[in-house]
Amino acid sequence: MLLNPAIIALLIASLVSLLMIGWSSLFGWQVLRNWDIRSGSEGQLILERRTYLVSTLLSFVFAVQAISLLLFIFNAEQMSSLFVGAMCAVGTLNVNPYGMPTLLIKIVVFFLAAIWLVINQLDTRGYDYPLTRHKYRLLLAITPFVALEAYLQLQYFLGLDADVITSCCGSLFGGERETLATELAGLPPLPAMFGFYIIIGLTIASALWYQRRRTGGYLLAGMSALGFAASIVAIVSFLSLYIYEHPHHHCPFCVLQGEYHFQGYLLYIPLFAATALGLGVGVIQPFKQVASLREVAPVMARRLGLAALALFLFFTLWTILAIWNSNLRLIGA
């Protein structure tokens, strides 16, 4: 299993990311201890110059993390044919106890990385290193998650055993046991649909409000997080049913299969990106009053907000289109 090209790529990416983040964290620790922008000492000037190298390196690492999340899911989907009982990524991820936690931690790292990238981008726009300490504090907070992700992923891949009979998505989302997955799958379609479109509508409205009034950045960030959660619930509870045209197929992973025209990628990529961008708008808000960022921070927040708005709109329209084009009728049938 370890000789699968995608697994090799994921393990190398994870190892390289961990090494780079580890080295950057050591540098970050030096910054937190010795940074003094008023000093013209040799040490301070070296820190100032090196911070650009480290920022560039970390931007690369976090971009790799985002790609790694995508590849991890894609690979799980592709490998499902190798395991007895697996119909999609759910089966592959359930081969051992490390699969699902790896996916969850990858998602957490993705959002933390997005926040770090926003802070870093803003910091490089200020002439006096306004957020340097903040970004290295955040980096030190992210490092354990990256290390945990690398450990879980390695354990997961080392523990992949083709002889294990795994469970398919039907048993996870439609079994008798009461789990979060079965709870979500068991939600009645109509209230779930109303709830989803109200929340996603409010999320889009908050993004529009931000574009027009330049206020409500925290609201947009909060609504983006809520919109993300509501969207995942919606995909499991009713949207998947429309895509599969099957009243009991709630799997959020089968939508990634070619059989369903890879529609899942068109749902998840805009959703994840929109949420990260929306959170980024909130992250910028406390720094709008920093003297060197007074001009650039609102512009950047507005651009991120606009991108979030466009992607949330795309996601919502795509869900409407999926329901519209489906032969399944859950309401009014």
Partner: protein, 222 residues
Amino acid sequence: MIELRAIRKVFNQGRHNEFCALHDVDLSIGENQVTVLRGPSGSGKTTLLSIIGCLSRPTSGRVSLQQRDISGFSERFLTDIRRHTFGFVFQQFNLIKGISVLENVMTPAYPLGLDYAELRQRALALLEQMQLGHRASAPVEWLSGGEAQRAAIARALINDPQVIIADEPTANLDTHLSKRFLEIAERLRERGKTLLLTSHDPLVCESAVVDRVVEMRDGRLV
């Protein structure tokens, strides 16, 4: 206008050929003045000039421009300062061969994305001021030493910088052309520009145009 605090510049630091070009230099340069850095070869004049003009960074110490510390700026901000605040006249003029005098003068303004016709007019006006209007379309290889220097000055002025930096501007000129350079320097000062020159030419250092001569030796101010 420009403040230097404890500037130190070390080349090849930590290697066997480590060389300290500047030792704890403190200097302040006033606005709308002509300042000359004078000293023998190897005294650190050009190194200091390149640090002030954001062409290189100090090993330690701070440089501030209009009370804003610029020594720690990233390349993004330094490029902006170099484009808008400083105009450079190099010792060898560094005109680009193969293109015309006019194109050479216009080159530093291209990244600003100005209207081409307006930029061309501005460049021609500068060449007229430098009495080089008739040579605008000539390739730079055809220029004499004095003409090349005036073309370099016109190029330094194209973005209307506040500070003109000239490294040994009269090193390759005879007495007559050196005097013409000083006349241009005086006109620039009258227009409110700040000039910072390096020179060990007595004609420049003893000229009435010069407000201040800063003596340098072995990387220190004397």
